[in-house]
Amino acid sequence: MKKVKIYVTLRESVLDPQGAAVQGSLHKLGYSEVADVRIGKYMELLIDPDGRDPETAVKEMCEKLLTNTVIEDYRFEVEEAVAQ
C-alpha cells in the first residue's frame, strides 16, 4: 500500500483573501516576520497499486478531479504506507 499526500494551494497569480486575513491577524499578534500566508487543502489517499504507476495515476487524478489547474497548484508525495 502507498500513502499519497497531496497539497493544493491557490496559484500565485490568484489572490488568496483567506491567507491575507490570516496574515493580518498574525501581524496583530506580533508575528511581524510573516511575509505571506497561503491557505490550501491537504488530501491523503491510500493506494493499492495494481500494476499502474501510482505517480502517474495520482497526477491524472489531480489534473482531472482533485484540483482545478485554472486556479490551483498542487504537489504530492508518495510513500510506503505503514501498517497500523
Binding site: L15, P17, V70
Partner: protein, 227 residues
C-alpha cells in the same frame, strides 16, 4: 420549445427554473436527473443553482463527471442553448465548457442581494430582448461568484465579445466585474445572477424573463418559421 432542467443532488433552484419557463413563458419543461442518459429530445438545457454534491472539493467539481454531462456536451456541440446559472455556471467552468473559474467572493462572505447588471452584449441568443448597455436588476446569491481567468483568456473573451453581463458595481471581486459569459460559439451561457428569480413583479421584477424570452425567440425563428 422544450427545456430540460437538470437536477443534480443538491440543486435547489431547479423548481424556480422550471416555473420560469413553464408557468411564466408557457413553454415545455421537464426535470432530468443527473444520471440520465439522453437529452436528444430537448431543445434547450438549463443547469440550475444550488450546492450540487454539497460543493465538496470545489463547487461543481463532482457534478461535472455526472452521466448527464456527456449529453450536455453533445447538446452544446449541436449548437443548442445551454444555460448554467450560479452552481450551473460553476459546473460549466469545471467541465471546461466555459473558460475560467469561480473563486470565493473577495470578502469571503455569502452575498444575497439584488444586483445591477450591465448587458454588455445584446447580440447573443440569450440577450436579444435586452438593449445593449442597459442596466437590469437580477438577484445574486453566492459565496463563490468571484470570476477569475488569466490575462490571455480575458483578452480572448473581450475579442470574441463573450462577456455578456457585468456587475454595475464590484462586490465579489470578479475580474472586470464579469457576471456572465458565453462560449466562443455563443450557445453556452454561464452567469452567477439568477434570472429565474426575476420573472414576476410580485417577486421584485421581470428583468430575468427577457433572457428566457430571448432563447425562445431565437429557437422559434430557427425552427418554427419554416414549419
Amino acid at each position: 420549445m422544450k427545456f430540460a432542467v437538470i437536477v443534480f443532488p443538491g440543486s435547489n433552484c431547479d423548481l424556480d427554473l422550471y416555473h420560469a419557463v413553464k408557468d411564466e413563458l408557457g413553454e415545455e419543461a421537464e426535470y432530468v436527473r443527473h444520471d440520465s442518459g439522453d437529452l436528444s429530445s430537448f431543445d434547450g438545457i438549463l443547469l440550475p443553482g444550488g450546492f450540487s454534491y454539497g460543493d465538496y472539493l470545489r463547487c461543481g467539481a463532482i457534478s461535472r463527471f455526472s452521466a448527464v454531462m456527456g449529453e450536455i456536451r453533445k447538446a452544446a456541440d449541436a449548437g443548442k442553448p445551454v444555460l448554467g446559472i450560479c452552481n450551473g455556471f460553476q459546473i460549466l467552468t469545471e467541465a471546461g465548457l466555459l473558460p475560467g473559474a469561480l473563486l470565493r467572493n473577495k470578502e469571503l462572505k455569502f452575498i444575497c442581494r439584488t444586483a445591477g447588471l450591465t448587458v454588455t452584449n445584446a447580440d447573443t441568443m440569450f440577450t436579444s430582448e435586452y438593449t445593449e448597455g442597459e442596466t437590469i436588476r437580477i438577484p445574486v446569491a453566492h459565496g463563490e461568484g468571484n470570476y477569475y481567468c488569466d490575462d490571455q483568456t480575458l483578452e480572448r473573451l473581450k475579442l470574441n465579445r463573450q462577456i455578456v453581463f457585468t456587475y454595475s458595481e464590484d462586490f465579489n471581486g470578479s475580474r472586470e466585474g464579469i457576471a456572465g459569459i458565453v462560449n466562443e460559439r455563443g450557445n453556452v451561457l454561464g452567469m452567477m445572477p439568477h434570472p429565474e428569480r426575476a420573472v414576476h413583479e410580485l417577486i421584485g421584477g421581470t428583468d430575468g424573463l427577457r433572457l428566457f424570452r430571448s432563447i425562445v425567440k431565437q429557437w422559434r425563428e430557427a425552427h418554427v418559421a419554416h414549419a
